[in-house]
């Protein structure tokens, strides 16, 4: 089962894609995705309901968050009431160890995204501030990466023994599915996604058409 674990809709301040349009695009372009996870910036979107779209298009559509820390951006899957009150999703300088600890304590799964970005990615922060022991998984393939960034992510993830997943980081319709994550398990809801992530039964995949 293949899911795009990193997407943004118009609910993100810099998102330009409606979820309905993502679904249409996936089906029209026959992108080999079984679903997507909406990881809206600096917020938990607890109001949007995509179940009708799931039924209409036969896709799994889940919700998560992309938060900002002092070591870069982090995707958080399995956001719940407890976690929302554990730290400020709107802040840009949440301490990474605290975010990771809060996620684990509240039954969610948190992992740094686009860690290979120059100056602002996790591994750039590692060079300046040292390693964060609580990190175990990172996004090694990101559809918005510029040449060299994903290569660095893959290299450093292997060096630190981190598991790697993939996501498109799409903000517009046409970029969904550039990168994704292939799971061994069947994912039907956020609980099964979190379980699969903790179980490590996945791998990052690049779905971009070759140039």
């Amino acid at each position: 089962m293949i899911l795009d674990l990193h997407t943004h809709s118009v609910r993100s301040d810099d998102g330009r894609a409606k979820v309905d349009n993502y679904c249409q695009w996936i089906r029209k372009k026959e992108i080999p995705l079984d679903g997507m996870v909406l990881t809206e910036h600096r917020q938990w979107d607890d109001t949007s309901d995509y179940r009708d779209l799931e039924d209409q298009y036969g896709l799994v559509i889940l919700k998560a968050s992309e938060v900002e820390t002092d070591y870069g951006h982090v995707l958080v899957f399995g956001v719940n009431e407890d976690l929302v009150h554990s730290f400020d999703f709107a802040r840009v300088d949440n301490p990474l160890p605290e975010v990771l600890a809060a996620a684990e304590r509240c039954g969610a799964f948190a992992a740094p995204c686009h860690p290979g970005r120059r100056n602002v990615g996790l591994f750039a922060h590692y060079e300046r501030k040292g390693v964060v022991d609580a990190v175990h998984t990172v996004e090694v393939l990101n559809g918005g990466s510029i040449p060299g960034e994903d290569e660095l992510s893959v290299e450093k993830a292997a060096e630190y023994g981190y598991r790697g997943f993939g996501g498109s980081d799409s903000h517009i319709v046409s970029r969904i599915g550039f990168c994704a994550t292939e799971f061994d398990d069947t994912i039907t809801d956020i609980d099964s996604l979190v379980a699969a992530l903790y179980g490590g039964r996945f791998r990052a995949v690049n779905l971009r058409e070759p140039v």
Binding site: D13, H41, R42, E68, H73, A90, V92, N119, H125, K129
Partner: protein, 154 residues
Amino acid sequence: MSDTEGTEPASTEVQEAKAKYVGFVFDTATFTVEQDKMLAWAESVGETDPRFTDPSHPDFQAHPTFTASLVSRRVLPEDFPKIGGPRGIDGGKAVVIQQPIRPGDQLKASATIADIYEKTGRSGTMTFIVQRMSFVNQNDEPVSMVDWKMIRNP
């Protein structure tokens, strides 16, 4: 050096600025909607719908984005702090259309700071300041709202 080392704690600055400025009217302005200006704007944005380009159309009105061309005397409150860094970027305008605007309408606009927030990207931390102009017509009916994002970064 970290992304924010050597600068004031931006988050504290932002929080203080939000508490002081968000939601308070800092400027007002009045505008008379002139047909010539309506037509010029519609042409400049490449509009072809006769509702916005033909004064003889029974539903002739200002283009939905017309109010984005109207500005108050002040962009920011007079004592607004220099938060977020010295470099400024125009983040664009978003327009909410509430009612058609007709030639001859007398619009009253009030300017507020709608939001101040930070986000980090490839260039580091950016501070977003959203100025909102809310327009009512001569009947005090809301007609349009324009949010203008101004971005500051180090």
